[in-house]
């Protein structure tokens, strides 16, 4: 899925090329108390699509603004192609940027908007016309040049903003939640379009969003931000399948969360005594935690099976909980079953539509069970 970007990165490493951007110990505070960005180290590889993902206030947008030059770090240094950026004003950084509300200049036509970065650079008029036309074609807006931004739909404005950020051929393009204002269908279409543009042009893109599905769809790598720190930096697949802490597990994808205390652990496997009821379950210990400490267990709903009690399936003995099936929700492409556990608490199970007719009846006593590698135990979120 992300072969092109992954290969580019691999090649970059093999060639011994340094990352295009390096954040070295970057810190940012507005009031001297709260660290909006806290001791950030991050390398952006040449040619990759990197997404900064996190809830609002996590520091992702500030990180982007620091890179664009609209904020100055209070600690550390940002290197662009090895050169420190702190003394370089935004207009000399040569970084394209797409803003949240596009920031298309309302008093200029689409053509003039796209020509703006070229004309301020003193590109000859004939070249400008050619490059503007090419940029418009690239975002499939040929013939729209004479219009004003206000005469375009949201998706079209979005494309103009992308064309304007691309037209002066920057090596790096930043996007600050550019699809936030679009409706769902258009947003998904634009996600694919931007990804295709990225693959075609090979330009490095740093993308900020709070939408995890968007991050998973588009990125080569994702950096999950929380409280000014990167919680995990990984490919979408690794991020989803192997979250490294309870925050990432909670923030990305759906989760069944159970609380308990670590009883024993060895070789990454562990036994947890659940807080509710007198049950123990087995799982994979992700973070180093002492025996007796409180842990959070995370189970993806799609990794859980459900059977009526007294079934003959022989699962792993420590990977099973009993409960009663309360509700079945039909969602077209899959079904969800809501189970109330005997030990207390709710549990969500997600099964493919092909299994819909094999589910137990509502009210039935059931077992939910899973493979031990899918039951991941983290230190409790602080």
């Amino acid at each position: 899925m992300n072969i092109v970007g992954a290969d580019a990165r691999q090649m970059a490493r093999l060639n011994g090329r340094e990352p295009i951007v390096r954040f070295v110990g970057i810190g940012k505070t507005y009031d001297g108390v709260t660290r909006v960005v806290d001791e950030l180290h991050l390398d952006v590889e040449r040619g990759e699509f990197l997404t900064l993902l996190g809830p609002s206030g996590s520091g992702k947008t500030t990180t982007l603004m620091l890179l664009a030059g609209f904020e100055t770090p209070t600690a550390g240094e940002i290197l662009l192609e090895g050169k420190p950026l702190s003394r370089v004003p935004p207009y000399q950084r040569h970084i394209g940027m797409v803003f949240q509300n596009y920031a298309l200049f309302p008093h200029m036509s689409v053509d003039e908007n796209i020509a703006f970065p070229l004309s301020v650079r003193g590109v000859p008029a004939a070249d400008i016309a050619k490059r503007v036309e090419r940029a418009l074609d690239m975002v499939q807006l040929g013939g729209f040049g004479r219009r004003r931004p206000a005469q375009l739909s949201g998706g079209q404005q979005q494309r103009v903003a992308v064309a304007r950020a691309l037209v002066f051929e920057p090596k790096l393009i930043l996007m600050d939640e550019p699809l936030g204002a679009l409706d769902k269908q258009l947003r998904e279409q634009m996600q694919l379009e931007i990804r295709r543009l990225h693959q075609r042009l090979g330009v490095t893109m740093v993308y900020v969003t709070h939408d995890q599905a968007e991050a998973l769809t588009m990125s080569d790598r994702i950096a999950v931000f929380h409280r000014g720190k990167i919680q995990q930096l990984d490919t979408p697949e690794q991020m989803y399948e192997y979250p490294k802490n309870a925050f990432v597990a909670r923030f990305i994808g759906e989760n069944n969360r159970l609380d308990g205390k670590l009883e024993t652990h060895a070789d990454g496997r562990c036994t947890i005594r659940m807080t509710a009821g007198d049950t123990r379950i087995d799982g994979t210990l992700v973070e180093p935690v002492k025996n007796g400490d409180v842990v959070t267990v995370s189970l993806r709903p799609e990794r859980v099976q459900i059977r009526a009690a007294g079934h003959t399936l022989n699962g792993h003995p420590g990977c099973r909980l009993a409960g009663s099936l309360q509700e079945i929700i039909y969602l077209g492409d899959h079904v969800r079953a809501r189970v109330v556990l005997t030990s207390g608490g709710e549990f969500m199970v997600k099964r493919p539509i092909s299994e819909a007719h094999t589910l137990p009846r509502i009210g039935a006593v059931v077992d939910v069970f899973w493979a031990p590698e899918h039951c991941r135990a983290f230190a409790q979120e602080s």
Binding site: A68, G69, F70, P89, P90, Y91, Q92, R93, H94, I95, G96, M97, F99, Q100, N101, A103, F105, P106, H107, F116, P117, V120, R121, R164, A165, F168, L174
Partner: protein, 422 residues
């Protein structure tokens, strides 16, 4: 059966028609109620404006074009001059009519009014008319023409009679032409007035020039202020706006007099400069154009800041950031991206300041010199000092026309609906 069905259908259709008619009537009724209610709400203000504003101002302005004194006081001669071709002296009958009119007017005591009106046009006419009234013999022997010319040879000049005819009304362009330093000669063609009386073109030009300079200074001083305020967080912006509006809580007269205190020869500023040794003798800062500019800019500045602030507040900072990220230096980003978006504010501010400046009276009168008086000063002069209401009205018409023309130009260039007043 078929017929029955047809009849039923017909009835149903008629019923539908009736229904539709009822619906339309009900709609009309409810609309009329709404309109009446709206009218009732507007009516008090409408009546107030009509009674206290539109009617008196209309009546005042009409005096600039209506001219009925002479037809009223000297009816016979006005009638006699209707058929005069103006090439030669009027006929004997006109002279006789004038003598009759003068006698009647003397008895009625209205001759002075006629003399005043004619004196506006031809200086010396008052004496001419009064001496004729005094010296005319009780019984006229021989030609009326010879009798009048005998009293004063001016009765033998065409210009004298043309002046009477010009004042014959009922409408006149005498005052309006006068407001532009023009007059009609004996043949009725428009010519420039005598050079020693040409003042109003200068006054009009000066009024426009002072207003333009004040507007320009307000833009230069107000734009950065509005920009700074618009960039503040809402709480602090409120405080700063309050400071900008502070002058509004003081009367115009007090503010102007305060400038007199500050700027006069022994005033605060001169004392300060002298004590600091910046100057050796007091600077002349009052009763000149400088003082007019300072005081007017001070008074009018809020009218520039408010619309500018209102427009600037609505421009998100991302535009300038976008321009900057696209490679524009700060000045380019300002000039090509920010400033064009503030044009509606600049337009509204300039319009408000300029139009108000055009009509300024108290401030130039108090702090300006003789050569700094604007058109309103002359309107006041004619209205209250010489009681030449025709001239006052004509100058007011000039002022009103300039204002409306300006408004029309603004509407054409920027569009009044884009105007933001705060």
């Amino acid at each position: 059966m078929l017929r029955g069905a047809a009849a039923a259908l017909h009835a149903a259709l008629a019923g539908a028609d009736d229904d539709a008619g009822d619906l339309r009537r009900a709609l009309r009724r409810s609309r009329r109620r709404e309109q009446l209610r709206a009218a009732a709400l507007v009516l008090p203000l409408f009546l107030f404006l009509a009674a206290c504003f539109v009617v008196p101002i209309g009546a005042m302005l009409s005096r600039g074009v209506i001219d009925t004194d002479i037809t009223r006081i000297l009816p016979a001669v006005t009638a006699a001059l209707k058929n005069w071709d103006g090439r030669d002296l009027p006929a004997e009958s006109a002279y006789a009519a004038l003598i009759a009119d003068i006698r009647t007017a003397r008895e009625a005591g209205t001759l002075a009014s006629a003399a005043t009106r004619l004196n506006y046009d031809v200086p010396g006419f008052r004496t001419l008319l009064f001496s004729a009234g005094r010296q005319l013999p009780a019984e006229l022997n021989g030609s009326a023409r010879d009798a009048l010319i005998g009293i004063d040879p001016k009765w033998g000049e065409r210009e004298t009679w043309a002046a009477i005819r010009r004042a014959g009304g009922p409408a006149t362009d005498f005052y309006l032409l006068g407001a532009l330093d023009l007059r009609r000669d004996a043949d009725g063609s428009v010519v420039g007035g005598p050079s020693e009386q040409r003042v109003f073109r200068d006054v009009l030009g000066r009024t426009l020039w002072i207003s333009a300079m004040v507007t320009l200074m307000c833009v230069i001083l107000g734009y950065p202020v509005a920009y700074v305020i618009s960039a503040q967080p809402p709480g602090r912006a409120g405080v700063l706006l309050f400071l900008v509006l502070l002058p509004f809580w003081t009367s115009l007269l007090v503010r102007t007099v305060a400038w007199v205190v500050l700027l006069q020869k022994e005033g605060v500023l001169n004392s300060l400069f002298l004590s600091l040794g910046i100057v050796n003798e007091p600077l002349k800062m009052i009763f000149n154009r400088f003082a007019v500019y300072v005081a007017m800019v001070h008074v009018l500045l809020p009218f520039m800041v408010l619309p500018l602030y209102s427009v600037m507040r609505s421009i998100p900072p991302s535009y300038v950031r976008a321009a900057s990220s696209l490679g524009a230096r700060p000045f380019t980003a300002f000039w090509r991206v920010y400033m064009p978006q503030t044009l509606p504010g600049i337009g509204a501010g300039c319009l408000m300041v300029f139009i108000q400046a055009l009509g300024y009276y108290i401030t130039p009168a108090l702090v300006g010199g003789a050569d700094d008086q604007m058109i309103s000063y002359f309107i006041a002069f004619y209205a209250s000092r010489t009681v030449n209401w025709g001239m006052a009205a004509a100058l007011s018409i000039m002022l009103l026309t300039a204002t409306l023309a300006l408004y029309a130009v603004y509407n054409r260039l920027i569009g009044v609906e884009r105007m933001r007043l705060g």
